[in-house]
Every structure is written in C-alpha cells, then in structure tokens.
C-alpha cells in the first residue's frame, strides 16, 4: 500500500492521538505514587483504548474475507489498520508503564513488539518494493503463476531449438520460410562448401540440443537454481556468444530468443525472492497478531480479577 498524501487525515489523527496520550502520560508517570501501572484508572484507560485499536486492526482479516460486507471501503480499513495499529503500541506501552516483566504480560509485550515491528517493516516494504519491482523486473508475472510460466518458457525454448536444428539440417517441414531460404542458398554455393557447411551445421545443431538439455531446460525447470550457469547474466551471455560463432547470423535471432527466455527466468527468480521478502513478514505478523489478541483477551479478564 502506497503511503501518500491520501493518508494525511489518518497521519494527523494518529499524531494528535499520540501527542494527547503522551501529554496525559508524562505527568501521570511522574506524579503517580506507585508510578505508571496498568491497574490504575489511567493505565486501564490506555489499555482499553489500545486493545480496542488492536482488535480493530485484527478485524482487517475478517473484512478481507467478506469483501461484500457494507462496512466501509477496504482501503479505509487498511488505512485504519495501519495507523491505529501503529498507535496501539505506544498506548499499550503507556498502559504497562514501559514494563516488559511478568510471565503473561511480558510475553504479550514481546509478541506485540514483534507484531508491531513486522507491521512497520511490512508497510515500508509495501510502500517501496512494488515500485522497485516494476522498475527492475519488466518481465514479472503473477507470483502464483511463476511455476506455470516457467513450464511455458521451457516449452518455448524447446520449440526454438527444434526450429533452429531444422533450419540447420535443411528439414523443410520444421523450418520457417526464412530458414528454408537460408538452407537453399547454402546449397547453391558450390559442392564442397555446401557439404562442409551441412556437416558443421549438424554439429552445431547437436551442440545446441545438448545445451538445451543440459543447461537451459534444467535451469528453467528449477525454481531459484542460483548455482547454475545460466542464473548469472554475464556467464549466460558468454555461453550464448559461443553459439553465435557457430551459427549463421540469420539464426542469431533464435539465440536471442533463447537468451531472452533465460533472462525472463532470471527475472522470475528475482521476483520470487522479492515476493518472499514483500510478503514473508505476513507469516510473522498475522499468526502472531491472532495469538496476541487471544492472550490479550485472557490478560484483560485476569487483570480485572487481580
């Protein structure tokens, strides 16, 4: 989510809320005979408001599950989640007087700290990374479709190699018009030359097939595959350069396509890595948030007793 000028009202509201809470807390903390405590009237007030904000932030998941509910725009819920969730942590710190002690209360504070920090990290990532990805990964696709696209790339690479070999072997059935013309022209250039050209072409075709089988397809099949030669742009460029020497210039466009497929795979790998960073924090943030709300509710009941 882009945090831009449309967040101004939430930003101002949260800042004012924090300023008011701080202005109330400081004299209370300085003059309360027992020091700031969760059980005092003000401490309880901070705790109740903070917990309500936490609950609201937690309801975002429910709101997303039921997008047809007419309870405000999803965007507003997201902004509320962001800013009220951000504000809830200082309020809870004021509630507990910045203490992280106690078995249950200590656990709650550390869990909340993790949820809060992961949330801030997530908001920052969601703000900056999508633009970075757009700029750096022009060939990105839908994350969930990466595996499927990878399969398509492998298929495409196989076809290109087959076309190229056909052109080299003079097989008209598989060769394109241009490649057929090329093969034909090669045949009219004198007996010896044509014969040795065909032999060289057969060898080049075999090498290209081996390159496909041993390098390109394994690379395209495997997600990540950082250790492979084609995962490094410079290394891949050198390998393709060797084939450019072997093949006639007219077939270089096929090599360009193959190289482009490998480049797309590299970008998909990078997208996959970035996606894990961009969304991985949710694996910490969401489960811990539910645990926090659960134990927070237990704490609220127990605190009223003791």
């Amino acid at each position: 989510m882009l945090i831009d000028h449309t967040h101004r009202k939430w930003f101002v509201g949260s800042t004012v809320g924090l300023a008011v809470a701080t202005a109330v807390y400081i004299p209370y903390a300085l003059h309360a005979p027992q020091g700031p405590r969760g059980g005092s009237a003000l401490g309880l007030a901070f705790g109740v408001v903070g917990f309500l904000f936490m609950v609201f932030a937690g309801l975002l998941g429910l709101r997303k599950k039921f997008p047809v509910w007419r309870v405000g725009r999803a965007q507003s819920w997201m902004r509320g989640h962001l800013w009220l969730g951000l504000l809830s942590f200082p309020l809870i710190l004021f509630h507990g007087g910045f203490h992280f002690s106690g078995t249950l209360t200590g656990m709650l504070m550390w869990m909340f700290l993790l949820v809060w920090v992961s949330g801030i990290l997530g908001a920052a990532l969601q703000h900056f990374m999508p633009r970075f990805q757009t700029a750096q990964l022009p060939m990105e696709t839908i994350y969930e479709q990466i595996d499927r696209v990878r399969g398509q790339l492998a298929q495409e690479a196989g076809q290109i190699v087959e076309e190229t070999r056909s052109a080299l072997d003079g097989e008209v059935s598989h060769a394109s018009e241009r490649q057929r013309a090329l093969s034909a022209s090669a045949g009219t250039q004198g007996g010896l030359t044509v014969a040795s050209g065909l032999q060289a072409n057969q060898q080049a075709g075999a090498q290209l097939q081996r390159f496909l089988d041993e390098e390109i397809l394994p690379y395209l099949d495997r997600a990540g595959s950082h250790a492979m030669n084609l995962s490094q742009s410079a290394k891949a460029q050198k390998m393709f350069q060797q084939f450019r020497v072997l093949l006639a210039p007219e077939l270089h466009s096929n090599l360009d396509d193959l190289e482009n497929i490998c480049e797309e795979k590299r970008q998909l790998d990078r997208q996959s890595r970035l996606h894990k960073i961009l969304h991985g924090w949710l694996l910490v943030h969401i489960p811990l948030s539910y645990a926090l709300l659960l134990l927070g509710a237990v704490h609220a009941v127990v605190a009223l007793k003791f």
């Binding site: 005979p33 106690g102 249950l104 696709t141 839908i142 479709q145 499927r148 398509q152 645990a291």
Partner: protein, 450 residues
Amino acid sequence: MLRRTRTTKKLAKRIDMQYFARPHAFRRWRFWLSVTIPIIALGWFVTQRVQGGQKVYSSGQLSNAHAVFTQQCALCHTTQAGGFSAQVTDKACLTCHDAPAHHANQTFTPQCSACHVEHKGSMPLHATSEAACTQCHANLQTRDGQPHYAASITSLDHKHPEVSALRPGVTDPGGVRLNHYLHLQPNLMGPDNKRVQMTCDDCHRARDRAEGADVRPAALPDELRMGIHENDRAYMATPKFATNCASCHSLQFDKRFRENQVPHDKPEVVHAFLLKRFGEYIAAHPNAVHEVSPPVREIPERARIPRVARNAAEWVQFRVDDAEWLLYAKTCKQCHTLKATSGPLPEIAKSNLTTRWLDHAEFDHHAHRMMTCEACHTRPASSRETTDILLPGIETCQQCHRSQGPTKEAAEGRCFECHQYHDWTKAKPTKGRFTIQQIRGSAKTVVPEG
C-alpha cells in the same frame, strides 16, 4: 534480432484465470501458521497455568521480601466469598505487618499498595516513590488546621526545608561548656604531659565503638525513635567524662592525695567522698591537725588564706571546704554551669547533651564512613560557643544525594532514604498464622482465609 514479443494478449494467455482459487504454498503456510501459532500460544499459557498456578498472571517478579511466596498468590490476593475480584487489600498486608500510620492528624491514609508497589522485581519495598510522600507533602493539609511542618516539599532538590536544628533561633541546649575551636588547636597538653592534636574521633565515636556507651536506641525517647532500623553504628555516642574528658581534665582535689580524683558525680556524692577521704587521712596522720598548709593558689589572684584547725573534725571540715572551693570555683566550673542554692553545695546544671539532632529523619554515620568528619561538619574548627549547632545543613546532603538517585550518578535522594512514614513506636507485634507449606506450597495448597 529478438523475435519474442510481450504483448498483453500473449501475456494474458499464459495466465490461468482461476489461479486465485487454487491452493498456493504461501497462502497455505499463512493459514496453518495462523492456526498453529495461536494454538501454541494458548498451549503455552495453559502449561504455565498448570505448572505455576496463578503465577502466570503475575505482572512481574516479587520483591525480595515476598519472593518466598511467589507461588502463593492467594496469600495477598484474597477473594471475598463469592466475589470475582482478588485485588490486594490492606487487610492482607496487616496480617503480617502492623504498620502504624504516620500522624494522627493526617487527612487521609493511603492504601499499603499505593506506596509499596509489588511486582517490580528485586527491590526493597520501603523504596517508595517520591510521589508517595509528596501526594501529601507537596501541599500539606492536616485535620487540625495548620501543619507543624513545612507545608510544601516536592523533593530533596526542590523546596526541602533546612534541617530543623539549623533553623534561625535554634541553639544547642547543652549545659556543658565546650569550645571546639580550643579543643582542635595543635599542641594541647594531653595525658602524661604530652602534647597532642585532638581529632573528632577522640570524643565522637559511634555507639558500637564508644567505650562505656550506654545510649542505645531503646534508651531514646519514643518521639526520637521513629525508625526501627537504628543500629549502633549509625549514631554517635554521647561523649562521657570518664572516657572522653578525664584523661586531660583531672578532678584532683588535694595534693595530699596526689593523683586521686573526686568522682564525676553530684555535689552531694563528691562532698561525702571528700569527708570520707579526709577523715581517713587524719585518722592515719593525727599530727597533721597542727600543720599549717601554704595558701591554696590554684586559682590565680584568688589565694585562699589557710586556716589552722583545733582538732581533727575541724581539720577535716577546713580541708573539705578548701577542696570544694577549688572544685566549684575552678575545676567543675570549667565545663559546668553552677547555680548557688540556699544550702552549702551548688547545683550543677544538667548537661542536657542532645543525643539525636534529626528529629524527623534518619542518619547513618557508618554509611558515610568513607568521608572525613570535616567534609560535612565544616564548622567545629571555628566554633567557640557551646550554643553553636555544628550539624551540616541540607545543602551538604544535597551535594551527594539527589532525588533521582543512582540514575543521576548520585546517592539515593528519595524521601525514604532519610524519613520514615510509619511510626514504628506504635507498632504492635503480629502473630504469624502460616505454615511453611502454606507459604512455599504449590498452587493447590489452601491458604486460610482471614
């Protein structure tokens, strides 16, 4: 030349339009973690609850004094029959501690837990916050109108009044004349005619080191015994003649008895002593009756004319008269104030030495032993008057002690460091009612109600 083109149509064809409906590893992980982590958290809580009882609810470690019954929350958190709340009441504290209130005329008495905050970790419970005291003392009100003490004290650093003994008009009520300036001069004639340089320690020693000291805390008047934490190292013993003065200040009364001295006691006792000693002497030396003694010249310009006795009884009377004249005109008068009475013997004003100057505060000399006496007591070397009070003022305390205490790289300066809230002189003994099992036992141990 690149033949692959990325048109929207081509890209769209690649995508499975139902992809969002199909399971995906990331979404699967997110779901299962969202289920398992709260369950693990709940499991942890239940385990803690089963193993440690209600301790899991504790907001922090108990103080050192109460750490022993950490497992037994119900000792303090008592629940009324049928009630839900288990908050700590004064009744629970008073079960073990009889803690009398500060003053009878205070406008309100805070709850025990308002000042003694538990669950703050390993710290002494008497280390109360300044706010606990200043909630009253910042604007002191009493039931009977005007407070007897400073009406607005906010901390040691702000608005703390001067110690009461140093306020204007207060003088040392002591009846013994003492010139500190003279006593601290170099080359004073000491015992055995040797020159000495006296130090504070020669006369002022803590009770545990003072010879023959008999001023124990128990001997102090009640109003001076606010604290129960007094110890023999905290306060200086009252200087005594026998241990601190006699080695230099001789009570010799007649040359016939050389080094013999009269007892340092009431005139009647001294008189009886003299009668006895001179009576014994004349009985042993009957010829001395007719000896003519040279004029007594111990007091310059006031020579006493010798008298010749006609018999032993008269000799004893003359010698006792001479000795008492010497004692009361010179020896005793040097330190004591003598009042003439209708009888033959003078009355000696009470020494009235102040045993404790800080009526409303505690002080511990032992805790300050790393410092020289002069570091705080700056005036003795120049004090010539008995009425001078040589106590260091509050400014001296403030040089090292600060409200923020150790957090400001200073000595503790919160109120409790010097002042007591509870008037322990009124404390009544409490009767223990818990067994070891009830204090140390598991969560299942039943704690008696009360």
